[in-house]
């Protein structure tokens, strides 16, 4: 098994997800292959992101 320290961003995401789970019952996601942390369930819908990227205005 590969052990390595989390970088600051990964640690922050894990801490936030654990806090969201403890305080608001939000789901923690695990990688099915190795049970590593795979984010929380606060997903952003595809439609929201794709609509934004498609509509980026011209910049001057």
């Amino acid at each position: 098994m590969d052990f390595r320290p989390l970088d600051e961003l990964e640690r922050k995401q894990l801490t936030n997800a654990l806090r969201g789970n403890a305080e608001q019952g939000r789901v923690l996601l695990l990688d099915r292959r190795d049970t590593s942390f795979a984010g929380s369930a606060d997903e952003v819908p595809d439609e929201e992101v794709i609509s934004a990227i498609r509509s980026v205005p011209c910049h001057y």
């Binding site: 600051e8 990964e10 806090r19 984010g39 997903e43 595809d46």
Partner: protein, 289 residues
């Protein structure tokens, strides 16, 4: 026990988001912006404006940029405007979100040719409508300029980052606001998740329309970047419903190859078609026989 500061970091639903107080860049995102701005200025198109779309996560009053998508070679640009290649950026976004569905659109960086370190009136007219569709109805915007040398007082501002002659000045814009607000910027260790896509951005731009169409027509289409025979290659996998077989399209430079993967067995299709969607459907038709 929860401290107020700790509670700020928890991802919230859009209705719970507060106005941004800071923009956070991973160190590789920061390096990417400066390096690609410098590289762009050294090209034949260096006099044109250039830009990047910013993807990342939005928490209560903070946004963290985790990926930068380039404007692309097929951008439309001049010395006074830049319009990104939307198809390539859409495909890039879909690829990045395969690994992290929390990634959202945060904002835009673009450059100005002179010393105008603030978004223009034209920028405002587009951005104020655009931010309506963003998380928290607020976006992050930065202006790149090449006037940092000798501007020590400006460059020490909390919303400015400089490297040599280049600088990025950061702002937020909220829905309904009459102007952009300076936004303090901070770096933290971390990657630019779009960095691996840079090696296949040419292939991605060439095939974006057809690959997006394919992903819209067939479920479970996945994209990846792998080591090709001479350089990195863009891969599109189309899983088949039977016994775990996969049609794999490998795009490396102008070369497009079609493979049928069945467990350990890999067969290369004996036909050529640069139009990826047509090639995949030809494979599917053949497999029906």
């Amino acid at each position: 026990m929860t401290t107020p500061q700790a509670a700020n970091d928890v991802p919230r639903s859009p209705a719970e988001l507060r106005p941004l107080t800071r923009i956070v860049l991973t160190e590789e995102v920061n390096r990417t912006l400066f390096a690609e701005y410098a590289a762009h200025r050294a090209t034949e198109r260096g006099h044109e404006e250039i830009g990047w779309a910013l993807l990342g996560v939005r928490t209560a009053d903070e946004a963290t940029v985790m990926a930068t998508l380039p404007a692309g070679e097929h951008r439309e640009a001049g010395s006074a405007h830049v319009r990104f290649n939307p198809l390539a950026q859409e495909l890039g976004t879909r690829i990045l979100r395969q690994g992290n569905r929390q990634l959202t659109m945060l904002g835009i960086v673009h450059t100005h040719p002179g010393s105008m370190r603030h978004p223009s009136d034209g920028d405002y007219r587009g951005d104020i409508e655009w931010v309506e569709g963003l998380r928290g109805r607020e976006g992050v915007f930065a202006i790149g300029t090449a006037d940092a040398a000798g501007n020590d007082s400006w460059m020490s501002a909390l919303h400015v980052q400089a490297d040599g002659a280049l600088a990025f000045t950061w702002y937020s814009l909220q829905s309904g606001a009459r102007n952009y607000q300076p936004l303090p910027v901070k770096n933290i260790p971390g990657a630019d998740r779009a960095a691996p896509l840079r090696a296949v951005w040419t292939e991605l731009e060439t095939q974006a329309g057809r690959l997006l169409r394919l992903a819209g027509q067939l479920v479970r289409v996945q994209f990846d970047v792998i080591e090709g025979s001479t350089k990195a290659a863009l891969v599109c996998d189309v899983p088949l419903p039977d016994q775990g077989r996969v049609i794999r399209v490998v795009m490396e430079g102008k070369d497009v190859r079609y493979l049928l993967i069945d467990g350990e067995q890999v067969q290369m299709a004996q036909f050529r078609d640069d139009r990826v969607d047509r090639g995949v459907f030809a494979m599917l038709a053949e497999l029906c026989n």
